[in-house]
């Protein structure tokens, strides 16, 4: 034994960290710095007009869009398509997912089917959807519903599988009926997983919105972006992309609000 180790050793505090702390302003600063860099770059000519539009021009385009009233003309059909399509896909998806989670026969029958249709690029089926559902709204709803359905199913049955078995066993020893266990233990326990699955499903719904509006849509954010792309009008293109991003942020915030309400029991 050396003399050193026999001395009492001071131990510094090693706890703390690994706990997310809210710094809301940092995200905003990152956005602002990037936009200012793009503005300075395009103003000085360091970034050519062919590569990127001036952020101020994009803002001006957006303002024009708002003043002319075209913004709502594009937004209303898009939001309708998003809501109807996503509601259909998510409702059916959660229902099928819970069934897979609860019943072994349904699981054996449907999991391979879901695995088979998940990787199909829904955009590739668009011409087929036009024949099935017509060129108008129905094919757009169907595309978004189909696209949100599979990720919702996968997230839901995964969440049901991950419900704490000890809680279910406890419910059984207290003599709860099967429906009570599903209603009071399985569904609340799976809710966190289902909601985080919804974030992915809704992002996919917004991506598919642009694809859905490829065919026969005169108005809509996706149609607006595609038109700007074919005209190589970068200002309109970016204005449209910004609208999609804002939609994504809003949807994510809405899901967070639902999480706070439904998952309050966790804290």
């Amino acid at each position: 034994m050396s003399e050193k180790s026999s001395k009492p050793r001071s131990v510094e505090f090693r706890g703390g960290g690994f706990a997310p702390v809210s710094h809301r302003w940092v995200g905003l600063v990152v956005f602002i710095v990037l936009i200012v860099l793009a503005e300075v770059g395009t103003q000085t000519g360091f970034i050519s007009a062919l590569t990127m539009p001036k952020p101020s021009d994009v803002l001006e385009t957006f303002h024009q869009l708002y003043v002319s009233g075209l913004l709502w003309k594009h937004l209303v059909p898009s939001i309708t398509r998003l809501l109807v399509g996503a509601t259909l896909g998510i409702t059916v998806g959660i229902w099928v997912g819970v069934m897979i989670g609860l019943f072994s026969y349904v699981r054996a029958g449907l999991v391979p089917l879901v695995a088979a249709i998940f990787p199909i690029p829904k955009i590739a089926l668009l011409p087929l959807f036009v024949i099935w559902f017509g060129i108008d709204e129905a094919s757009k709803y169907a595309l978004i519903a189909f696209g949100t359905f599979t990720p919702t199913v996968v997230a839901t049955y995964g969440a049901v599988d991950n419900v704490d078995r000890t809680l279910i066993r406890m419910g059984q020893s207290f003599g709860l009926s099967w429906t009570s266990i599903v209603r009071k233990i399985v569904l609340p326990g799976a809710m966190a997983g289902i909601l985080s699955g919804l974030r992915i499903s809704m992002a996919i719904a917004i991506i598919l919105l642009v694809a859905a509006e490829m065919l026969g849509a005169e108005y809509g954010i996706g149609a607006y972006i595609l038109e700007a792309g074919s005209l190589y009008d970068l200002e309109r293109l970016f204005a449209g992309v910004v609208i999609l991003s804002v939609m994504g942020v809003l949807v994510s915030a809405a899901i967070s609000a639902v999480e706070r309400k439904l998952l309050g029991w966790r804290t």
Partner: protein
């Protein structure tokens, strides 16, 4: 057994290097350029100039780059990946010209009275319901690829002449429009004859008019290049247009004016078939290639007034900036203007 030591290896490498330099002087004089093309008969002049060596004679080593649509080709010119290409004047092309990226330098396909040109089509459903001539277009739907495409231009011009108001349905791809037209999801469309005639033959689609009746001397496609080539590479651009024009003359003689007789036409069909409808048997492709024969402007002459009409229409529809001048889009110093 041959044993190669270090010295022998060096000698061999040296010999190989000398041999390769000796073999190349003929090629080293020609400039390597890339030319964009679509697999349409309207691009035949480019194919002819490649196969018959007109580009090579002009000192140009041409590599063909194939595209699926006109807009990506225009973007490829802007980015410098392609040097010259032929395509319709579209809103995207005008926007890129406005950004100082590209210039129209010549004309290619054009409508001409007396020569079978682009057709106006109606779906069988709409035809049975009374859409038997473009005069009945009011309140109907018209298929287009994208806003600002040549289809959009043609449709709106026909509708304007007939005093009809039509709804344009953007469907992105020619294939999607054909599907929608056949199944009656849209009422009308306009397209080059080699696609229109087989469609009409199927009975699901009817030809109800000619574009040339509404847009006489319509400059359908133009030759364009990057603004840099147009400004700084005058001799190369002239060489390109010269060789391209030889291809145009051969094409017109064989396919449009038919001065070379059946043998000349068959020879030309064989040549074009290497590039267009290459996946179909010769006899089937030949029909489509012959059906698709439309006048290419001799000497790549450009109908400036038609291009100006198109530019003005894009402006009036608010598809491009209002302050774009014709000079921004067109560099008329290379070819004869009509």
């Amino acid at each position: 057994m041959i044993i190669i030591d270090r010295r022998k290896a060096l000698t061999l490498m040296g010999a190989a290097a000398v041999a390769s330099t000796l073999a190349t002087p003929a090629l080293s004089q020609s400039r390597k350029i890339r030319v964009g093309a679509l697999r349409f008969t309207s691009h035949s002049a480019t194919f002819i100039a490649v196969v018959r060596g007109y580009f090579k004679d002009a000192g140009l080593d041409v590599e063909l780059k194939f595209f699926q649509a006109a807009t990506p080709m225009a973007v490829a010119i802007a980015s410098g990946d392609v040097d010259y290409a032929v395509t319709a004047v579209s809103g995207g092309l005008v926007s890129l010209a406005d950004k100082g990226a590209i210039k129209v330098i010549g004309g290619a396909l054009s409508e001409e009275a007396g020569i079978d040109g682009q057709k106006i089509l109606a779906s069988d459903k709409a035809f049975q319901a009374g859409l038997t001539s473009p005069a009945a277009l009011d309140g109907k739907t018209f298929g287009i690829t994208t806003a600002g495409s040549s289809f959009h231009f043609m449709g709106s011009q026909v509708a304007a002449k007939e005093g009809a108001s039509v709804t344009f349905k953007p469907l992105q791809k020619v294939g999607a429009i054909i599907g929608a037209l056949k199944s009656g999801q849209i009422d009308a469309w306009s397209i080059v004859p080699h696609i229109a005639k087989p469609l009409a033959g199927s009975g699901k689609v009817h030809i109800i008019g000619n574009i040339s009746d509404y847009l006489p001397n319509y400059q359908v496609t133009t030759v364009f290049t990057s603004a840099k080539n147009a400004a700084d590479e005058r001799s190369m651009t002239q060489d390109f247009l010269g060789a391209f024009s030889k291809g145009v003359d051969d094409y017109n003689a064989a396919m449009v004016d038919k001065t070379l007789g059946d043998d000349g036409m068959n020879e030309m069909v064989d040549l074009i078939h290497k590039y267009v409808y290459a996946d179909r048997p010769r006899e089937k492709a030949a029909k489509s290639i012959i059906n698709g024969s439309m006048r290419l402007n001799a000497g790549a002459a450009l109908n400036v007034s038609s291009v100006e009409d198109q530019l003005n229409w894009f402006k009036s529809e608010d598809l491009v900036g209002k302050d774009i001048k014709l000079d921004t889009l067109v560099d008329a110093s290379y070819v004869k203007t009509i």
